[in-house]
Symmetry: C2
Subunit: 349 residues, 2 copies
């Protein structure tokens, strides 16, 4: 198989993975009803890598749909330092596609012993993480062969959205919206593949860039930056649009481009203001997302379809980033299926 | 004044700033006693830039000393999306040296209206933020003239440590330890200035790097990365040691160095394991912190004195990063006092 075939195949199979999740979501519905009946004081999300990027999204999904306070918790505070923070009244959502990340498993064991309701969100129901947690929400994404996560990432996002929706009594509505988003990805894929291939050539010499967004799309910015870093060896740093304007903007120049992810929601004015700050430095601007066309001065535009609900925009807006990582890796002669120095499982050092 | 004189002067004045904070800390003691009497369910830290880096430290200080759950809260969830998360039982610690960051002020106004105890941690007691919050903890750092924050950063760290200590009934002990840390910085400064100047020459051609740590020192890694990015135009990305090994390690090579901050605490084995992963890629390794000498294979070592308490190590370990930012900016002909495209206040876009 040519290098990158698995990665591309898995990007293309995301609509099917999302449909499988919605079809098989009984565990999500059941936990959602439980959260609705007894809202937890705090939702603690724990993960590394792409799963941690999905956790960033969970903070917004749980807050906006269900009015729940959710945080990406520090693993080291509990696992290494053994801090005595109170776990009663907390729900722990531990995300790991492999279910084998050692310090996430250790965190779940400790949190469960100390009274938290622990939930594993994983693509492997037979994993250590699934065994350690009280409940398991399977990602139902099917086997993922490329080292860089794609369909397990979007299914992690969708699991968090469906769970939050169920906790808010809006499960059916959001399940239909996830199906509509899957259809949107399917329709947009051929056009986005062509746009990503066009972007790969001018970006083959880019050594460093920022990927920025605000709010719901910050998770997308983190994930796109990680994909570009691990598969294309670009130093792609994620930032919130406001952070970028606060300090890092001082480092920009023509050879240090910025990729902005713009959605048509309450954060769009902040993202547009950052675009102006970026353009003033002379840096090249890439814009993607459903509001990409509204970012003036972008040299490259990768628009995605409007999401059925604003909160679901990352299911669509991550795709141009994944496809650009694939095309750019190929343009640079790298194998996006098997990046150097990496394995599929986080063996936490 | 030669470019960078204010920045260097403010780095050197950090011991004096820390002593002024300990001497004038009545507001911190009073709030700490209040938290001890009625522990909040949740501490919500909000900030941007260097202040947000200090907030990362607050999560550890409040968790380790006082057993409190603290999170860096999403500003956009409340200010832009108007999510209905519950604020009762929460304490809000809003950090901004200028006190003029608009969306931090807006968050505090909303949180206060919805029942949170709101606290401004700022260097300007006459600022909008101080006016919006119920309580003010002044940073007492004196005027900061360089655009890049230094003494307001360490005084933010120390404020959070002193507050957590007071909430744990250990205020006097930690106040003495902060004084000892200030003395440690003072003694170490001349040697570190020499080491930072030596590092600047080989790093003048470095375009991108990672700055990594784990646990308490993650805040330091974020702050050192921001200093190098904004004053030296290096794409310096912060990462936890575990995150770095998870994906970004795939991007490393001889011209893409890694700076590891190593402290002698429970996270040292994880940091050492990451060092091995980094060295296997051929990347150049810089090690700083009080356990820098225990990182085998580092090409450059900037050791800092052992902290009086492990939790206070960032008060010392940030200094080599600040000094390297100063020396490297000068080596590259940049003015670290006034980076391009930046102003001292975050006017959030």
């Amino acid at each position: 198989m040519t290098g990158g075939a698995a990665f591309l195949d898995e990007i293309r199979s995301q609509p099917a993975a999302l449909r499988a999740l919605v079809d098989g979501g009984e565990a999500v519905r059941s936990l959602g009803r439980r959260l609705a009946a007894r809202p937890p004081r705090l939702v603690r999300l724990v993960a590394h890598g792409s799963s941690d990027n999905a956790a960033s999204y969970g903070v917004y999904a749980l807050g906006m749909l269900a009015g729940l306070t959710a945080m990406r918790d520090s693993i080291s505070l509990t696992v290494y330092y053994r801090a005595r923070v109170p776990f009663d009244g907390s729900v722990v959502l531990a995300l790991s596609q492999s279910g084998r990340t050692p310090d996430v498993v250790a965190y779940v064991e400790e949190a469960r012993a100390r009274g938290a309701l622990t939930v594993a969100i994983t693509n492997d129901e037979g994993s250590d993480l699934a065994a350690a947690a009280e409940l398991v929400l399977p990602l139902l994404a099917g086997p993922e062969r490329a080292v860089a996560a794609t369909k397990t990432f979007v299914n992690s996002l969708a699991t968090l959205a469906l769970l939050a929706a169920e906790a808010a009594g809006r499960g059916r509505e959001v399940a239909e919206a996830v199906r509509a988003a899957a259809a949107g990805v399917e329709e947009a894929l051929p056009g986005l593949e062509a746009l990503a291939s066009e972007l790969a050539l001018p970006f083959a010499s880019v050594a460093r860039m920022f990927v920025a967004a605000r709010g719901v799309e910050y998770a997308t910015a983190r994930e796109v930056a990680l994909k570009l870093t691990e598969t294309c060896r670009v130093a792609a740093e994620p930032a919130t649009a406001t952070e970028l304007a606060h300090g890092p903007v001082a480092a920009l120049d023509r050879l240090f481009p910025v990729w902005l992810i713009a959605s048509d929601d309450e954060t769009l004015p902040a993202v547009k203001a950052t675009a102006s700050r970026v353009l003033a430095t002379g840096a090249v601007l890439v814009a993607s997302g459903c509001a990409a066309a509204r970012i003036e001065g972008a040299s490259h535009v990768l628009p995605t379809p409007a999401p059925p609900l604003p909160l679901l925009s990352p299911l669509l807006s991550v795709v141009p980033g994944q496809l650009t990582a694939w095309a750019l890796a190929r343009a640079k002669g790298l194998d996006p299926d098997r990046p150097e120095h990496l394995s599929k499982v986080t063996i936490a050092p």
